[in-house]
């Protein structure tokens, strides 16, 4: 039972990451009809925004500290981060501590810009080309982005600490009246889960309750008619691309304490998120979220001891197996719409 609960939590948390990436992919696909192989690279850029923020906050100046002496009796030179000298030591330390969260102020503008430039500069020219070309050009772009990151940040994973408030585990078991410490779960993973639930809710609310979102939804359903009504749908879709890039970037930004970012991190997530999107149904936003969580939880349950004793290693291939079964029985995916990418 306890193990079951822990795996459920694991699944929710893993599913949250899948769902976020798949949501962005689906947004782009549903609006622009482009399969974005560079989406993993966007996830990675988000992750490296955290790294950059952390490095930025740790920029230090050398200050002569009169209160301390080195062994020769001269005043000691110490490295003091600028934030500590500007805001005072306690506030500075707190700012540094929360750098993963603060990276949001860097991630959002960077991702919007990247998304905008990518759509206007590259992908726009590929709407009339075959889908294979779109896949290929974004694949090439993903290689380039990865290599640029490698050039600036090196090839090794970079450790990024989480805020100390979220270190350690939270005793879920006690909260639900179970034995103490039976279900202890890392706090940051819970934070990640709630964070992504928040983003997903925000994206849906934005599309559902704003005029902008309404136009976008109309454009997803019938682009030509919306264009004929005198609405500049291309411009809105560009913004949607920026938002999708943002969603991927934020997913990457918050994932850094769980998995140290390296230049290939996006590629690892990309393939799985494609499977998630296909299972959910291409072009269906709720489908993407649903199948993200579903596959995440399935994968976690498959790694239960009871299961792996019967079928060893099933946890590594279950997602693909499920994807194949679903595509064979429901070719459109779980919630795929009729007429979207039927060919």
């Amino acid at each position: 039972m306890d193990e079951f609960l822990i795996q459920l939590l694991n699944g929710l948390d893993r599913g949250a990451a899948y769902a976020l990436i798949a949501l962005g992919l689906t947004l782009i696909f549903g609006t622009l009809g482009v399969v974005n192989f560079a989406h993993g690279a966007l996830f990675m850029i988000g992750a490296f925004c955290t790294v950059t923020m952390q490095r930025f906050l740790n920029l230090s100046q050398t200050v002569i500290d009169d209160t301390q002496k080195d062994f020769l009796g001269n005043p000691l030179e110490v490295e003091v981060p600028y934030v500590q000298s500007w805001f005072g030591e306690a506030a500075g330390l707190a700012i540094q501590d929360w750098s993963v969260m603060l990276a949001i102020f860097l991630t959002i503008p960077v991702m919007l810009l990247v998304g905008y430039v990518m759509e206007r500069g590259l992908i726009r020219h590929f709407y009339s080309r075959p889908h294979a070309d779109q896949i290929l050009v974004t694949f090439g772009l993903a290689i380039i982005i990865g290599e640029i990151i490698k050039y600036f940040y090196g090839a090794n994973p970079i450790q990024t600490p989480m805020p100390s408030a979220f270190l350690g585990t939270w005793d879920m078991g006690a909260a639900f009246g179970l034995e103490a410490n039976s279900v202890a779960y890392p706090k940051w993973r819970l934070v990640y889960f709630f964070f992504s639930a928040l983003i997903i809710a925000a994206v849906f609310a934005f599309l559902q309750f704003t005029t902008f979102g309404m136009v976008v939804r109309a454009g997803m359903a019938d682009r030509e008619t919306v264009g004929m009504l005198g609405i500049d749908i291309d411009r809105r879709f560009t913004i949607v691309f920026g938002i999708a890039a943002c969603v991927a970037g934020l997913a990457g930004m918050m994932y850094t304490p769980i998995l140290s970012p390296h230049y290939n991190i996006g590629m690892d997530f990309l393939v799985l998120s494609f499977v998630v999107v296909v299972v959910g149904g291409m072009g269906s936003l709720p489908g993407a979220v649903l199948s993200g969580f579903m596959l995440g939880i399935l994968q976690s349950f498959a790694s239960l001891k009871v299961v792996t004793n019967i079928v060893p290693g099933i946890d590594q291939i279950i997602i693909y197996l499920v994807a194949i079964i679903i595509l064979l029985t429901r070719p459109r995916g779980l919630m795929g719409r009729k007429g979207v990418m039927e060919d």
Binding site: V35, H125, R129, P130, H131, A132, D133, I135, L136, V137, F139, G140, L141, I143, I144, G146, E147, I148, Y151, M267, V271, F274, V275, V277, V278, M282, P312, G313, Q316, I317, Y320, L321, A323, I324, L327, L328, P331, M341, D343
Partner: protein, 402 residues
């Protein structure tokens, strides 16, 4: 000749000549010279890769070039072929013939199974399905899931599969070589011809693999020109219309997929024959991506394109990743100092470890400006020259996209 028209015969003879004289063509500079160390590519290990990847991409092109179905999981068949070949080495002995036969057959069986499922969808779905299958097979191989079932290692996980002295090797004769061989002819035996400052190496393994490249190339010409090739092209141009005329495209697609998978399996078997060990990383999806890149760069849907693309990428990979900063400084020493520093600093990120950056940029430029790859580039150039020569000629310079 051999059922080919004169144009195709010329093309075939060109490829034969290229692979036979490759040791000369790829060694244009004296071996010990500075340029030779940087730009020569005529050593066996690299030439083997040229022909093996050439074969692989020819097979891939039969699927992608003819039907337009973009498979993003072709490396899986390559890996399956390699594993099958190494297992034949382990069970029967080091003769390469059973290994190659087996790797082709096993890859064929796998491609029937995968193709049957993946071809139920087309377009993006097909790409993603093949990608998912390949990743699944990679995971299975990487953590040796089959081995865990059976009890003995099948793919041997991270370590990779290789031949041990304790393996049965039932057909291995007492004095047969303990390296891959063809009835006693060792794959890595070679002779060197020294002429002046030049050294040319001829290796059995290279010519053995090259034989299969030529064979594969010949088969691909025949398939391109056959009624089946026509069917496949019809699928590319308009599958719906084809099915309206009462033709069932499924069997043709599956046949193309399986043939292309068997090419990949054979290439994988050859890889194992050159070096009798293999690992799961050969099946990773970036390896599949590389195959796609080669096909596109050379020119998908053309006959010679895949060979050119594979050769080009493997050649550049070898050359570019060898270049170090001091080489650059040497080359640009004639420039004024400040300019030299600037040029070196601009180029440096693209060479050495930055080879993939060059590859990515090159790939994107080709996709954006030259969707037909190098072949299209060549055609454009020749067309321009021809137009200059005879301006009054009626539109005769237009060549079919072959």
């Amino acid at each position: 000749m051999l059922g080919l028209n004169s144009r195709d015969t010329k093309l075939l003879l060109l490829v034969i000549a290229l692979v036979i004289f490759a040791p000369f063509l790829l060694n244009p500079f004296p071996t010990a010279s500075n340029l030779g160390e940087s730009f020569n590519a005529g050593y066996p290990a690299l030439m083997q890769r040229f022909v093996i990847f050439g074969l692989l991409v020819i097979g891939f092109n039969l699927l992608f070039g003819l039907t337009g179905y973009l498979s993003f999981g072709h490396a899986a068949f390559l890996g399956v072929g390699s594993f099958a070949a190494v297992w034949m080495f382990k069970l029967l002995g080091y003769n390469v013939l059973p290994a190659l036969v087996m790797s082709t057959i096993i890859a064929g069986i796998f491609s029937v199974m995968i193709g049957y499922v993946a071809l139920r969808r087309s377009g993006i779905y097909f790409s993603i399905l093949t990608l998912a299958f390949a990743q699944m097979m990679y995971s299975i191989a990487y953590s040796d899931l089959i081995g865990k079932f059976v009890g003995t290692p099948i793919t041997n996980g991270e370590t990779g599969l290789q031949v041990y002295a304790s393996d049965p090797q039932v057909l291995q004769g007492a004095n047969a070589p303990v390296l891959p061989h063809l009835f006693g002819l060792e794959m890595n035996s070679q002779t060197t011809l020294a002429m002046g400052g030049w050294e040319f190496t001829f290796q059995v393994g290279y010519y053995f693999a090259a034989f299969f490249l030529v064979l594969g190339f010949y088969l691909s010409i025949r398939i391109f020109r056959s009624p089946m090739g026509l069917m496949l092209r019809a699928i590319k141009s308009n599958q719906t219309r084809m099915s309206y005329t009462g033709l069932n495209s499924k069997p043709y697609m599956l046949a193309a997929f399986v043939i292309s998978g068997m090419y990949a399996g054979l290439a994988g078997g050859l890889m194992a024959a050159m070096d009798p060990l293999t690992g799961a990383e050969r099946m990773f999806w970036t390896a599949s991506g590389e195959i796609v890149v080669m096909a596109i760069l050379g020119g998908a849907g053309t006959l010679i394109g895949p060979v050119l693309g594979a050769g080009m990428i493997k050649y550049l990979e070898n050359i570019v990743s060898k270049i170090q900063k001091d080489f650059l400084e040497l080359w640009f020493a004639f420039l004024p100092d400040w300019l030299e520093a600037a040029v070196v600093n601009i180029i440096y990120p693209f060479v050495g470890k930055g080879w993939h950056l060059t590859l990515g940029v090159m790939f994107m430029l080709v996709i954006i400006y030259l969707p037909g790859g190098m072949v299209e580039g060549g055609q454009r150039i020749t067309a321009r020259f021809k137009r200059k020569k005879k301006t009054d000629a009626p539109d005769g310079a237009k060549t079919p996209a072959e």
